[in-house]
């Protein structure tokens, strides 16, 4: 069996795992904020389910990250005892829910990316990564089916639903590019055969979302401008507020077991 330590420095792997875990965690947290407030009961169920899947995935990635870091931190220490600048989620994940259309569009853009990423990770030379990718991949494929379907139905629904979906797309598009940006961490992971270079995922993603937008009668923005920083810890103002809530109990009662 190949040890990941043979393939890559542990700090690079750790950093990369945080990007996976934090993105799942923060997006899952945002989705969970909907609890009890969805537009229709079926969506209450679906949103709870997606949040549950995502936080489940976060546990796998962060648990592994903690092992790789090897400083005795587990999923909970990583989730609840880091401040914003140590989080490595993409900015898109932390964007506020807005209306249901914005939440849905955020989910769709990320689902399509996660689906491509996890699909590639199934053949990672790192067994743990491949294992997690198989498990998470099944869930995310379902998420993508659902979000594609809803984007199409609401994009091509009433004038009002079309308007809201287009507004959501326009507002979130500048946050899509970060998902495909590559830095030294990504390049090292790719070189070691542990993960795809994110840039290689873009053409497939473009095709997936392009096809959905067409069916949804939505106009894909032309701008290439992309907000960046989340993957290296430079976040929007939103993340700090999210964390102050998420981390309250662990911060206020240090050392307690729950």
């Amino acid at each position: 069996m190949i040890q990941e330590s043979d393939l890559i420095a542990s700090d690079i792997l750790y950093e990369w795992l945080l990007r996976r875990g934090d993105t799942a965690l923060i997006l899952g947290h945002r989705v969970s904020e909907w609890c009890g407030h969805a537009p229709v009961l079926e969506e209450d169920i679906a949103l709870a389910n997606i949040a549950l899947d995502l936080i489940g995935q976060a546990r796998l990635w962060l648990g592994y990250a903690g092992e790789v870091e090897d400083k005795g931190r587990g999923e909970n220490e990583l989730a609840f005892l880091r401040d914003a600048w140590d989080f490595r989620n993409v900015l898109l994940a932390e964007q506020p829910n807005g209306d249901f259309g914005k939440t849905l569009m955020r989910q769709f853009l990320i689902d399509a990316w996660q689906d491509a990423l996890l699909s590639a990770l199934k053949t990672s030379a790192n067994e743990r990564i491949a294992e997690i990718a198989v498990k998470a991949g099944k869930e995310v494929t379902y998420h993508l089916d659902r979000s594609s379907d809803l984007v199409i139905r609401l994009g091509d629904g009433t004038q009002e639903s079309h308007r809201r979906m287009q507004a959501a797309l326009d507002a979130l598009w500048p946050y899509a590019g970060e998902m495909f940006s590559a830095d030294a961490v990504d390049e090292a992971m790719a070189a070691a055969g542990l993960a795809p270079n994110p840039q290689t995922l873009r053409p497939g993603w473009d095709e997936t979302v392009g096809e959905v937008f067409k069916q949804a009668t939505l106009t894909q923005p032309q701008s290439d401008f992309a907000h960046k920083g989340g993957l290296t810890g430079r976040h929007s103002e939103h993340l700090g507020h999210l964390l102050s809530e998420m981390q309250f109990l662990q911060r206020a009662y240090p050392g307690a077991a729950w």
Partner: protein, 312 residues
Amino acid sequence: MSEEERAFQERIDRGEKIEPTDWMPEGYRKTLIRQIGQHAHSEIVGQLPEGNWITRAPTLERKVILLAKVQDEAGHGLYLYCAAETLGVSRDELIELLHAGKMKYSSIFNYPTLTWADIGAVGWLVDGAAIMNQVPLQRTSFGPYSRAMVRICKEESFHQRQGFDIMMKMAGGTPEQHRMAQDALNRFWYPSLMMFGPSDKESVHSAQSMSWKIKINTNDELRQKFVDQTVPQAEYLGLTVPDDQLKWNQEKNGYDFSEPDWSEFFEVLKGNGPCNKERLDARIKAWEDGAWVRDGLMAHADKSTVARTAAE
């Protein structure tokens, strides 16, 4: 009693299930719609006090468990609305009645969840009381309701165990955690006792409902059973039930206990609970904010039908 009514009662007495297409008295239908509808509403509104702590769950595992629980509850709401729909009332009609204040949901959800221990107490006490009410309803005379109850009870008892597990951690944790656990018990004890409703002596509908097997046990029977089951659990947790009068009564083989303050119960029912307005406002806001989504989905479905028809 008419011939039909007599035959209907005899079917019930024989333990047969009544199905939606069977003849049934108007009162039976109405009572069931009210009861199932209120139960469905309770599942939906019940998401809110628990949702209040999802974003602050103290560990990722607890967060996942709580999400799964809330998801189950929304699912229960769905089964129950479906069961009610078999009686000729739509989910949207029921929701509109709820929002107009013309239908109730369980008053327990008008109490706030103030600490993480409350999430434990809701599972342990509130779900515990709910199960006590619901287990007999698996044998209720109306088929769809009975079948929904079978599914629901299985999941609820799982939730109750999870709630008790939280209470164990909290009661046996740091002094602050123990204090939270005791505080949660103090606040949820009497409201949980109220969940069984006032003494049957006060209730005019009970006799009819019992003969229809829409109601199986009296409120007082169930309350006694709940107290008898819960007090030893509280002792096991090292928590004190907030009732000076609580005492084992060898003769009746059960506990003597204080009645809840029924004036509080009626105040909450009237709308004066700590969270009545917030809960209903939150649901109405969700419904109104979501109107464009429901309209959009409907419009798309219509377009698709037209497209399919044209293609044929």
